[in-house]
């Protein structure tokens, strides 16, 4: 990987990683040894009040060695790849593995795997440096200034090489890159927001998304307070992504087995509306799928929720072995889609709504009750009252108390999957949704 980042930084390539792996294995006295490399060159241009307030670039290379004697294991990490430092990391891992108690759940590294080669590092993103990020930031700021609004946001890009190898012959190495943009347009007492994350910095859609944030900020002016309560809501994709992300985090198979997951006992049963499907789509060009997991296992396309029925859980290798699950399902490129009739746009959902609340995004989502996955959070950066099929006014932000496991069973209508991302989620493809009786428990002052 070269060029771009001013041609000044060369990330650890496949052969260099092989050399490092051999060095680690040569010094390791363990029964098993796993080597993980993460070498990243990243930068962010951050702006606020229509000016650059932070402009950073960093190079970080990390090597982690996990070493085991029987079922005793330990891990050591170093950011120094000189031979002496790598040897020292091996010794630290070895020292821990020698004194740690036996771990009944230890599983040796996987054998060699076959991987799908995916375009995970697009040249335009790898090549993007401070000048390109500044150019995009300037575009967003100038659009906001032109509308007499203040812009705050970020443009960032990252290129990395990632490697996983082991004494078993396991060897994976991949270049990855992504770019991120988000902007908050601020008026006198209103805000509007938009964001995107993409493998291609050229696909961030800075102009279109900034215009959307501007429109929301302008429409948010003069927001009125209306009482909390149960409302029909139209959730834009980022808001749906916020709820879905918490559902995805709760699918751990060990928690499921122990009875400490909200899904416990529900595998194979309908948990959400029968029109909805959740799948991992690592091959999708608008998602950030990669070739392998941190343990060197290949990622896979798989249905997790099929027509509302829970079909998959997230297994660690020990639990997978217990359940004889092969291959281990991964969910790093989530796509939620709906069967049947889809609305063409958020506007169509609005037009078909007699009275409801249009939500741009949620913020500070946290669990309230892990047993039934009741969550709380605030609406943010564009919350509107819909009456008789049109937005009539902006309203003060609400706090919600709702479980996605309940809300996604009150689904009225939805669009096709759209790109979604926020400060609290990764990149997803999810529909905008119209949901009835969504529970807003209180209202704030703006």
């Amino acid at each position: 990987m070269s060029g771009g980042f001013a041609g000044t930084v060369k990330l650890t390539d496949r052969e260099e990683f092989r050399f490092l792996t051999d060095l680690v294995l040569k010094h390791s006295g363990g029964d098993h040894t796993l080597v993980v490399l993460h070498d990243q060159h990243a930068g962010t241009t951050r702006f606020a009040n229509n000016t650059v307030v932070q402009n950073v670039n960093s190079r970080r290379v990390t090597l982690t060695v996990t070493l085991a004697f029987g079922k005793r294991h330990g891990s050591a990490t170093t950011t120094d790849l000189t031979a002496g430092a790598v040897r020292e990391a091996v010794k630290r891992a070895e020292a821990m593995a020698r004194v740690g108690p036996e771990d009944p759940e230890y599983v040796p590294p996987a054998p060699p795997q076959a991987y799908v080669d995916r375009p995970t590092a697009l040249p335009e993103t790898v090549a993007a440096g401070p000048d390109r990020r500044l150019e995009l930031a300037r575009e967003a700021v100038e659009l906001c200034q032109g509308s007499s609004l203040k812009a705050a946001g970020v443009v960032s890009s990252s290129a990395a090489t990632v490697g996983v190898a082991a004494d078993t012959g396991l060897f994976a190495h991949e270049a990855r890159a992504d770019a991120r943009f988000s902007v908050t347009a601020t008026g006198e007492n209103s805000t509007g927001w938009a964001s995107n994350v993409h493998r291609s910095i050229d696909q961030l859609g800075v102009n279109e998304r900034t215009r959307s944030a501007i429109e929301k900020a302008q429409r948010s002016a003069g927001a009125k307070e209306i009482p909390a309560g149960r409302y029909t809501v139209i959730l834009e994709p980022s808001a749906v992504g916020g709820l879905l992300t918490w559902m995805m985090w709760m699918g751990d198979a060990k928690d499921y087995d122990k009875g400490t997951s909200p899904f416990s006992g529900k595998l194979g049963t309908q948990i959400i509306d029968a029109r909805l499907n959740l799948a991992n789509r690592p091959e999708h060009p608008d998602l950030l799928g990669c070739g392998f997991t941190p343990e060197g296992l290949p990622t896979n396309s798989l249905a997790w929720i099929d027509r509302g029925v829970l079909r998959q859980l997230a297994y660690d290798r020990f639990t997978a072995k217990q359940h004889r699950v092969e291959p281990i399902p991964t969910l790093e490129a989530p796509c939620l889609s709906g069967d049947g009739r889809t609305a063409a746009s958020v506007d169509e959902l609005v037009r078909a709504t007699e009275r409801g609340i249009l939500v741009t995004n949620f913020w500070y989502i946290r669990t309230v009750n892990p047993t039934d996955l009741t969550l709380t959070g605030m609406t943010r950066d564009g919350t509107f009252l819909v009456e008789d099929g049109r937005v009539t006014t902006a309203v003060h932000n609400f706090r919600f108390h709702e479980s996605p496991l309940r809300a996604l069973n009150r689904l009225e209508a939805f669009t096709g999957p759209r790109e979604a991302s926020s400060a609290e989620t990764g990149k997803l493809l999810v529909p905008a949704m119209k949901i009835r009786e969504f529970n807003f428990s209180s209202v704030t002052r703006f």
Partner: protein
């Protein structure tokens, strides 16, 4: 790499910045070591020892910032990164409407070392693993408990800060923490109870003195009591809040809104802004006269008491809220002049060599009052006593908040009676603190801290300590978390 080599690299970078015509520049070189022992369900699930070393160069050129960092500490990499920082700053200058002006600070030459009795990295791992194994065993002996976990954490930061203004400060900072959790299951419902030592800048004596194993049976028994407890009935209650619980309430509702960069819009796209805008300083009634929040980055052992911040500004003590009135902000050298303060409060911190320092919450603590806990409880007819942390959420201007807790007891006619579950309280920040009518005396004061305070883009984890005695807040809206809401 030894200290004199660090000095040479620092000088190499600073020379480069001066030659490029920088108005200001600094370099931070760090070598951080983190050790984690993690237990889960009676087994030691992870033993991790991480070394993270590198340097970051920050430069002010033409009134704009540039920052570049690298994990490669070499005589070839340092000039490359310094030049890149300058190049980035000059790019920033092309999109900067107001030039950065730094508050004055004298140059400091100093060394800061965490006093400790027992080096946490010198304690045998067998002892640490054995402690957690014992604790998990005690926890899981309790009928009804289905899961256990525990952790021990230690960190050492060796750091050099050097600036073009002549500051040269070296640091050898250590921090330690430990805790465990019990999870109980009842009728398909589960609930957890946790025990945490504070995160403090001290040695392993913190863990030994906390006697985790002795606490395990109590915590396990309370986990079972909690999962079997009746759910709270929604309504208005007087709350008596313990110091650990208060540390989070103070952090979210007072700490963050008092960060001046937020109030000025720097975080508008992520962490948010603040209802405590500069025009309110000195006149806004934030809370009742019982409420005084003091920022103290000089108190020994606390996380933000590092001697100097990452601007090279000496740590200080000042008021945020005095007798209920909002009076002060957490600042750095960049934002202090924007509210006409001559000197930074010294609250600019980065979470590592690869991050640029940003304004961070100081060690903000609630000043003790005169009551005893028994007095405070005795004067409650219908209330809830809350310990520890759980669910929390707050809007981006820090008005509307909601908190759960780790354990709840119903107070009736001045007495703590039985446990409750699913307690959630919510409110509007100044109304909530305006209803505080008692704070316990200094004998009740405890310190708790955070090392995962999220802020900034790219995201950084801030460290700070919040001390408090118990506080009583009247007539707070309580709802039931879960399906009944």
């Amino acid at each position: 790499m030894n200290r004199s080599e660090w000095d040479e690299l620092a000088e190499l970078a600073l020379k480069r910045l001066r030659a490029a015509g920088a108005e200001y520049g600094d370099i931070r070189i760090l070598d951080s070591r983190t050790q984690v022992v993690q237990g889960e369900d009676r087994r030691i699930a992870a033993l991790r020892d991480s070394r993270d070393s590198g340097f970051g160069v920050r430069v002010l050129c033409r009134g704009a910032w540039g920052f570049a960092a690298s994990s490669i500490l070499s005589v070839e990499e340092v000039p490359r990164v310094a030049d890149l920082a300058v190049q980035i700053a000059k790019g920033s200058a092309s999109m900067t409407s107001e030039k950065v002006r730094l508050a004055e600070e004298p140059a400091h030459v100093d060394r800061v070392v965490t006093p400790l009795r027992i080096d946490p990295f010198g304690v045998p791992l067998e002892e640490k693993a054995g402690l957690l194994t014992d604790v998990m065993e005690y926890v899981q002996r309790q009928p009804g408990v289905v899961r256990s976990s525990g952790h021990l954490w230690a960190r050492r930061d060796l750091k050099l800060f050097a600036s073009t203004e002549g500051s040269r400060i070296t640091f050898d900072l250590v921090a330690v923490q430990g805790g465990f959790e019990a999870t109980a299951l009842q009728d398909g419902r589960f609930a957890s109870r946790t025990f945490n030592t504070p995160h403090l800048r001290t040695g392993y004596e913190l863990i030994r003195d906390a006697n985790l194993a002795a606490e395990a049976p109590r915590i396990a028994s309370q986990a079972v009591e909690k999962v079997k407890a009746p759910p709270v009935e929604a309504g208005r209650y007087d709350l008596v809040l313990d110091p650990e619980h208060l540390s989070l309430t103070m952090h979210e509702s007072c700490g963050h809104p008092s960060e001046l960069d937020r109030a000025l819009g720097y975080e508008a796209n992520y962490a948010g802004t603040s209802f405590l805008t500069p025009d309110k300083r000195g006149s806004f009634r934030y809370g009742s006269p019982h409420v005084t929040f003091v920022a103290d980055n000089t108190e020994p052992e606390t996380l933000a008491a590092t001697g100097y911040d990452d601007d090279g500004v000496a740590c200080q003590k000042w008021d945020i809220v005095r007798d209920g009135l909002f009076v002060g902000y957490c600042t750095n050298r960049e934002v202090a002049p924007k509210i006409k303060e001559a000197r930074s409060r010294g609250s600019n911190r980065a979470d590592g060599w690869g991050s640029v320092p940003i304004v961070r919450i100081a060690n903000i603590g609630l000043q003790p009052g005169r009551a005893t806990l028994d007095d405070m409880l005795a004067d409650v007819k219908r209330g809830i006593y809350i310990e520890g942390h759980d669910s929390f959420s707050i809007d981006q201007r820090r008005y509307n908040f909601q908190f759960g807790g780790d354990a709840f007891w119903l107070i009736e006619n001045g007495r703590r009676t039985h446990m409750l579950r699913d307690v959630i309280y919510h409110g509007i920040t100044p109304e909530f603190w305006g209803s505080c009518d008692a704070v316990a005396d200094p004998s009740h004061r405890r310190r708790f801290g955070f090392i995962t305070c999220g802020k900034g883009q790219p995201g950084q984890s801030g460290w700070m300590t919040h001390a408090a005695s118990h506080a009583r807040v009247r007539n707070v809206s309580v709802i039931r978390g879960g399906s009944a809401t």
